[in-house]
Symmetry: none
Subunit: 212 residues, 4 copies
């Protein structure tokens, strides 16, 4: 319930401001993500967080500031690397179907790696309202940006005559939904790797829209 934290008393001795601080913070954010994903944000108390991290209630506040700020930190954790990779893939200018396959892989790997964080995001982003709207907007913005990349790629495929899609917006929604919904069932110890899943899904979907 409250084992002695890791650091030795020697290394702890004042001075350098955040040597291990940032790492510890990240670790706490990930633990919070796990608990929030398992039980929900509101159903997880700071006492449970305290027990899971080994820090006392008061000590936690040095790292998290407030419970709600944890939500932001959790969101940022998975959306930033995903967006970065999405833009890199798009910039490579591969053919549309290859680009989509790569995007599917990137998204699926992100979900697999940060499943807890994604779960929290999808279940709790409505929770933020109060006032920190600005910061919440950044997260929503990032989410929409990823969707836009998919959208552009699909339309590029149509323009190049590679895809044939009656309703491009629905294709985006279907494609994303197929993958995103995996946050509900994917397990790291499953028979398929994230890339296996992405490839299988792409083979269903791209064959369905590809011009023959």
């Amino acid at each position: 319930m409250s084992e002695e934290p890791t650091g030795s008393t020697v290394t702890r001795r004042a001075g350098r401001p955040r040597e291990g601080y940032e790492a510890r913070r990240q670790e706490i954010v990930d633990i919070a993500a796990r608990l929030f994903a398992e039980r929900g944000y509101h159903a997880t108390s700071l006492d449970e967080l305290s027990a899971a991290t080994g820090l006392q209630r008061g000590g936690l506040y040095h790292y998290i500031g407030s419970k709600e700020r944890l939500l932001f930190m959790i969101h940022e954790r998975f959306i930033e690397p995903l967006l970065a990779e999405a833009h890199a893939i798009e910039d490579r200018g591969d053919p549309p179907d290859a680009t989509l396959e790569n995007l599917a892989g990137a998204l699926m790997r992100d979900i697999a790696e940060y499943r807890d964080q994604v779960t929290v995001f999808l279940h709790e982003w409505r929770t933020i309202h109060p006032k920190d709207r600005e910061r919440a907007q950044a997260v929503m913005q990032a989410r929409r940006e990823f969707e836009a990349v998919i959208d552009r790629t699909l339309r590029r495929g149509v323009a190049q005559g590679v895809f044939e899609i009656p309703e491009s917006r629905l294709a985006t929604l279907g494609f994303l939904g197929m993958i995103n919904y995996s946050y509900q069932w994917y397990r790291r110890d499953a028979a398929w790797s994230a890339d296996d899943v992405a490839q299988a899904f792409c083979s269903f979907f791209l064959d369905g829209i590809r011009v023959r």
Copy 2:
């Protein structure tokens, strides 16, 4: 808990009879579903529920028994009609692709009609734990049963040489995910009806797995 008492309608004496009780209960369950979907189960207080229903806190308990029982009632609301329709469709014995199209339509219409209830289910079913496990099992069972119908249909298609699927379980998950995820974005006032969406998704997906 609420079966009709023994006496015939003749013996039934004073005290406004059950006439209306069941309707009122259903109405309350739907209001709860809306609030839970909007703000989350734990973030919705009984005070808010009381305000939304026009009943005092105490009066609510005539209908709900407990806050957690609301979760069950909400689940049952959308899963029972869906399952009934799914079995009816399967029993018709249409060709596999027609069956899948009909199942997609049924599921999509269910999500469109009971979007709040589905949202609550997908976000909160982990919440039930405590002891009503038995009743929770019934819900999980119903959910798995719907999945099994999809699964059987896909495999029937493969057996009949209509579909070509490397990994049948992944096809089920992709197909379901594509549609289920619509709980996150579908709006009743959207440009597409539930059937439009189901048809579009089927055209993507079935073309992708259909043997040519």
Copy 3:
């Protein structure tokens, strides 16, 4: 729940240490005993307890854990010293009538000193049921143990030909009842000290059973 944490007093860092915690808890338990004795356990709200202790409702829970645990703490308060003294008296091996006089004195002084606690015990021990049965058993066990000491002493007196008692169990019940019932009427500011009462009662009772 409240054992001393591991570290030595040297390692113990900030946060006002346990120094005082135990004393405060005891004080709270005694205040609760007074209120419970005056108005009854169920009729005393935590608000009243909060007002009487000067702690806010939430703060109380640092010390009590739950309202029901207060019952245990109250019981332990008076039964442990009583039992300890009873065993010490018995071990002295005085003649049976002297032993009984000493036991009566010990019991009567305990009731006088912990009248509130005894009142709560006699009125509310049926209240504990739920699950903390184990702990409840310990209390019942202690109570029976005191009775057993009386019982043994009376039978020793009979065996030694000092007492003459037709029905030894009824003698125990009468002896104990006479003294125990004083929880209903004894006041610390009365004309008689606890020892006065014990002596008077013994003179009635022992003369009644003593062989002539």
Copy 4:
């Protein structure tokens, strides 16, 4: 939980105002006494009473008026016959020790017969405060009157040279306590009848105070 009440629909048909009413009321009061004795007044809800009597919440109120009025009815049930018998015994003018023996028998039989009611009285009489003080006073008055009878008898014995008592008030308290405390342990199915107990207690006590 709610079996059909006893009366046939025929006898029930309007008219004669209280034919079975009073009997039913008494029955309800006794059931309430049992529940209050078992669990305490405050811990017993009207729902439990409703379940135990077979009447619905609303119907109960035709008989009881309010929960607190039940306390009065319970008290009156055992104190009135006791007091009547006590006065009858005193008026017979038997020798003091015979009178005491008879009083002990009357009290012990009353406790045995109305153990639940006595328990409720001893545990809950402080509960009545609010305003119905007048009616509560009547009960306290009756209780004191019984004590006074004992007191007078003991002093008569001393005056007649039959008893030798240093502190007459303590004798009364001891004598009464010995018997009254039996509400804590007496069971109707015990090896001893109420009269057995009364006789045994008198033999201890009267021998203790009798002049030799």
